[in-house]
Chain length 398, copies 2
């Protein structure tokens, strides 16, 4: 046994989250793509079967009340809340991340203009996952704003009296860089603007602190580190003090104060329900609810500690196994700037990822030249990390 | 055996769709609420189990290609297309009905303005399911239009050079009135405006003829007569000739011409995919796909014929069993004005519906005073209809 595989064994033995792994369906593959689609929690299929056979098949329409379908968006929002540092009553689950980005950015612009009608700029992270930019551009267009795409580092410099809203990603999907949410949020507030954070690549991997840092609005998906299943519904956070000012561009009947009143006049619901739109997709939503049970008794701080240990150890193994200069990490070394992934740049990365997958190490390829490895602390162990780096070295030297 | 129960038996014997019923999970309840939530097709639970255990659990991320997840929105759209009279390539599945109404109305206004920038009115059915009005109002507000809520009968009279888009329901959710899609669409086109139809209460119950009548845009849910499951994803139809002009207010990454190019500039996809937004909710979507298999070999014309026979027979039984004047049908008698439901008004309808449900006849109550009975021709038989009317008469005379 090599020195590093011995170290991996010791780290796995000491890992307080090691026992959570047994709650997931895994095989002999090293699955480092949980930042794209989280693995299946083992109890979910049985729960889905009950939802389909009993709740839909036998109870049918009665399940809207009796099986808690109607209240699922807020109930599951409250289950996600502690993972992102939010008190209950501020998160609602439903729709896709893109749709929630739209709600959040339009609502943020409207909030800013309640105080100052001259605010007409939407600042967006130009380096981020493209949908945020596309949707922010649409939100800007529909509200008569100008879009200012900049890097997160440039944000403080462009904020001013014209800034209405700023949409940022907490962790960059490609590089894995963790942006400084507390200081950026403070800078945005100092400029009198509203901060919208996209938590897709941070929720479930590290503490977010939405309430603590006064984030105004936030969105995120649930199929990465939250393991909700393919395309499981996203969520929207609206800070409690702003809920009465949340003026949704998608005021569907589910967001009405009296949804079954069938009133022709729209009166928005109080609280998190104001972020709802249409009928929630119950099968996907309740599968997510079941999946979230793996978090029972798992502190997000322990997840963060293990995540950093995993990515540190991966970098250590890569440095030991891979010839120097063959790959270059584009993920920051500093812990305070790192999410839960390592992105390695190499010339032939598309081919390299194919070979890796063929050898049982699953990450993904992100254009133009990035090998992306996501480390889900709930089910990835240190032996996985050592094996991934070892196989990477082997496929890099064919 | 009474005369009407004998007639019911004869009608069931002669029913060419009678054999479809065996494909659904039903019990001894008379389920007349399929216009709210369709019953469970019996093969769906097994398919969902495969989607969860094998596609998600075992194949994980590979399923986006190998299990056809990525192409599901257009593939399932093409499965719905013949049911609403659309050729392939014009329907995409995803998001809720409300979200699709928003896409369609904003896009319709933008299309109208490509030809005439002075068009600034959105006409909407004031009597319809409220979400359409709320969302149309938001679309009007965001595009600088005025909302004109009118009854469908008033529509021709308010159309003019300022009309940009008209949003109408094909069948009224409360009364079951079927509106004249061909002539209303023609009137809207004559005024130079764009027609958006909401098919929630007609798709799967009667022929719609989207292509034949030149409808511009249409939306619908899939959990009523299409039996897709609770909150299953909705769909959006964009007429082929308009697809290049479809300018979505929700241009998420899934609607990009090159979704994995991760480009910062937005270039809309050609065809139906332009109506996509974010990551599709795969569990709900593939459950719907499985549910649609019950339509194999079922012509929508046969469904319509049986639907009218069912509602006719229900009215006949109600007239025979219920004391005159105790209930009043608000559903039109004329076939060309009737959807697939009968709405009966009576003074104490909330209580009456509770008693009916307690006696195994499930319809629903719609405020303020309507007993709503939906007849899904795929699984409701004539004996069900006779029993429902008989039990209704019994609970009305306590």
């Amino acid at each position: 046994m090599s020195e590093l595989s011995g170290k991996a064994r010791d780290l796995d033995v000491a890992d307080e989250l090691g026992k959570v792994r047994a709650q997931f369906v895994l095989d002999d593959v090293v699955y480092l793509d949980g930042n794209s689609l989280g693995a299946l929690p083992a109890h979910v299929p049985g729960r889905v079967e009950d939802i389909v056979r009993r709740q839909w098949g036998a109870l049918r329409i009665r399940s809207w009340d009796e099986s808690g379908w109607w209240s699922a968006p807020e109930r599951i929002g409250d289950r996600i809340a502690p993972l992102v540092g939010a008190a209950a009553g501020q998160i609602v689950v439903g729709d896709s991340t893109s749709v929630n980005v739209f709600k959040a950015v339009v609502a943020a612009v409207r909030m800013a203009r309640l105080e100052d009608t001259g605010r007409d700029e939407v600042v967006v992270d130009a380096t981020t996952f493209p949908t945020d930019g596309y949707i922010a551009e649409s939100a800007a267009r529909l509200t008569g704003c100008t879009l200012r795409p900049v890097t997160p580092a440039e944000v403080p410099g462009v904020l001013g009296p014209r800034t209405a809203a700023v949409l940022l990603n907490h962790v960059d999907y490609r590089t894995g860089r963790l942006h400084d949410l507390p200081s950026l949020t403070a800078a945005i507030h100092e400029a009198g603007a509203y901060a919208v954070w996209d938590l897709c690549h941070s929720a479930g991997a590290l503490p977010v602190g939405l309430d603590e840092y006064g984030v105004d609005l936030a969105v995120g998906c649930t199929y990465k580190y939250l393991n909700g299943g393919p395309g499981s519904p996203a969520y929207l956070y609206v800070r409690r003090e702003l809920q009465d000012r949340f003026d949704s561009p998608l005021p569907g009947w589910n967001s009405h104060a009296e949804p079954f009143g069938m009133r022709t006049d729209y009166e928005p619901a109080p609280g998190a329900a104001r972020g709802r739109v249409g009928t929630p997709d119950i099968l996907s939503m309740l599968a997510l609810e079941a999946a979230l049970e793996v978090w029972d008794g798992v502190p997000i701080e322990a997840v963060r500690a293990k995540s950093l240990a995993l990515t540190d150890f991966f970098l250590e193994c890569v440095a030991a196994y891979v010839p120097e200069g063959r790959v270059e990490s584009v993920t920051p070394v500093a812990h305070e700037e790192r999410g839960s992934q390592i992105a390695l740049r190499c010339a032939d990365s598309g081919d390299v990822m194919e070979r890796l997958i063929g050898r049982g190490v699953v990450g993904d390829f992100r254009r133009p030249d990035v090998l992306r490895f996501g480390f889900t602390p709930l089910y990835v162990g240190f032996a996985d990390v050592e094996r991934a780096a070892r196989v990477l070295a082997e496929v890099l030297v064919p």
